[in-house]
Amino acid sequence: MRTPLGSSLVADLDVAGRVRAAFTAAPGEVMAIIGPNGAGKSSLLHAVAGLVDVTGHARLGDTDLLATPVRERRVGLVFQGQLLFPHLSAVDNVAFGLRARGESKAAAGAVAREWLERFRIGDLAERRPRELSGGQAQRVAIARALATDPDVLLLDEPFTGLDVSVQMALRIELGQHLRDFPGIALLVTHDAIDALTLADRVLVLDEGQVAQVGPPAEVAAEPRTAHVARLVGLNLVADGDDLMAFTPDAVVVSRTEPEGSTRLRWHGPIATLAPHGDAVRLLVHASPDLLADVTPAAATELGLVPGAEVWLSTKATAVSRYGARAGAGGTGR
């Protein structure tokens, strides 16, 4: 179990033209920030780090974060693309923050080596960044941020650009380090699995606004944005003040209008067909776009090809119905 000993982050930040978000995060908590490209995820992280102009307020315990210079914020940022100093070895990169804060070269080096050992790359200590693989470099970058013992750890798309197998391994590893990390962690990602496996809470950004905050399971089950619905593989349909979420395999596909009285039916041309596990997943340009899974046999039998007009329907019992503007979620656990 974590031992929360730091201070909570209470923020209401406005990066002009990029993002406006109010949120709180408690020590020991991992909050994932998800949303489509341009939603303002990175801007929000950079605002917390102090690298962009921002208005509003942010308090970390008693500290007014916005009035604090970047270098005194005790915030560790793992940049997208790592930004390891190319002229320094791995161990010198990790030791950089400690030395900048006044540690002796020897002491900083010793701590840095410990961190590299913890990430099981101690043998790569003397290598320059260009001699490291993507996964190794990302480990060094995370170690560099953690080595300064920050109150807030900011991770900006830490798995982007890595091979899928490397992503998997690093995700598990990062999960262990985040469990041990006593401070607040904010993780920007565009991958639902990161949010589901690493985060205690998820903050969904859409068009520069907070669309939803909640535990991962809740956000995944009752997404409020089309982006999150797509990430978790759900169909999302607005119905008055309500949203309806249902899985693609609960959708029935037919070439003719289904009989019966259900209102839950839509019509449109097939945009794409792609294998999905044992099934074939259709993307149908209905209003809105919907996903439907059918068996390969059914796909052949129905003559489903791109452009073909189909009817989709689902049973009311297969649909999760919830309010579109439910509370924005708690502030912690």
Partner: protein, 268 residues
């Protein structure tokens, strides 16, 4: 099977371009080759080992080296300021810094005299309080060299700093580094190749400096007579000696080019 070359694919280079290119090459090379050819090789060792030549060479090397160190100490921070700090009038300051670059050196000498001459704005009070005056001293030579070389150093280094990713500075800041630490441990090391290129360029400019020096400092062996000044006065009485000394400068210049080849001659 022969690999197809660019020439095959795009056609022969047109004569309209090749002829001027060849002329340009000749124009640049022929005078230098002619100078080497005109050198009196028998007299060369005597010319180069004469007291006055050795003194001029020593003075040239010492003053230009001291000058380039000063250029770095003052110019590197200025280049950093221009590249990294956003302030009002930055564009104007950058333009001002380049002025000595386009100034005829003799004008630079007149300007230096107005400021640091014995009756100059700074030179007169300096002389009154300390009894020291720049003109006719090696210090004056260094001052003139710094004045004409600094723009080369600043512009070259500023370019290098600009092309370095400023996000590395941000990364250093999030890790707790002050701007001074960042400058020392991140910014400068990352721009080091450009810093070295700017330094060598400035040093070469300093070594060849003539107009500002002779206008501001005159010419006296061992004190203010650098290689270019010596060549200029030697030309009046002994053309062979002037050629021999010019050859030394040519060799040094080629040496500078070789040192910079990775920057300018890196492409085949």
């Amino acid at each position: 099977m022969r690999a197809r070359t660019t020439r095959d694919r795009l056609g022969r280079p047109p004569a309209l371009l090749m002829v001027p290119a060849a002329l340009a090459t000749l124009l640049l090379l022929v005078p230098l080759v002619a100078m080497v050819a005109a050198t009196n090789w028998q007299a060369l060792p005597g010319h180069l080992t004469s007291q006055v030549a050795l003194e001029a060479l020593r003075l040239s090397l010492v003053t230009s080296t001291v000058a380039i160190v000063l250029c770095l100490l003052l110019g590197l921070p200025l280049a950093w300021l221009l590249a990294r700090v956003d302030f009002r009038g930055r564009g104007a300051l950058r333009a001002l810094v380049t002025v000595p670059l386009v100034l005829p050196p003799v004008v630079a000498g007149v300007a230096l005299r107005s400021a640091f001459g014995r009756t100059g704005v700074i030179g007169a009070p300096l002389l009154e309080w300390t009894g020291f005056a720049f003109p006719f001293t090696a210090y004056g030579v260094v001052l003139a060299h710094v004045f004409v070389s600094m723009p080369f150093v600043v512009i070259a280094i500023e370019g290098a700093l600009r092309s370095a990713d400023p996000r590395f500075d941000e990364a250093a800041a999030t890790l707790g580094a002050t701007r001074w630490t960042t400058f020392r441990r991140v910014t400068v090391p990352l721009a080091l190749p450009g810093v070295i290129a700017g330094t060598v360029l400035g040093w070469a400019r300093s070594l060849g400096e003539f107009g500002a020096t002779i206008t501001f400092n005159g010419n006296y062996p061992g004190r203010t007579q650098t290689m270019p000044t010596l060549i200029y006065v030697a030309r009046q009485s002994d053309a062979d000696a002037a050629l021999s000394l010019s050859l030394v400068m040519l060799v040094v210049s080629i040496g500078v080019l070789v040192a910079l080849r990775d920057h300018w001659l890196g492409t085949p």
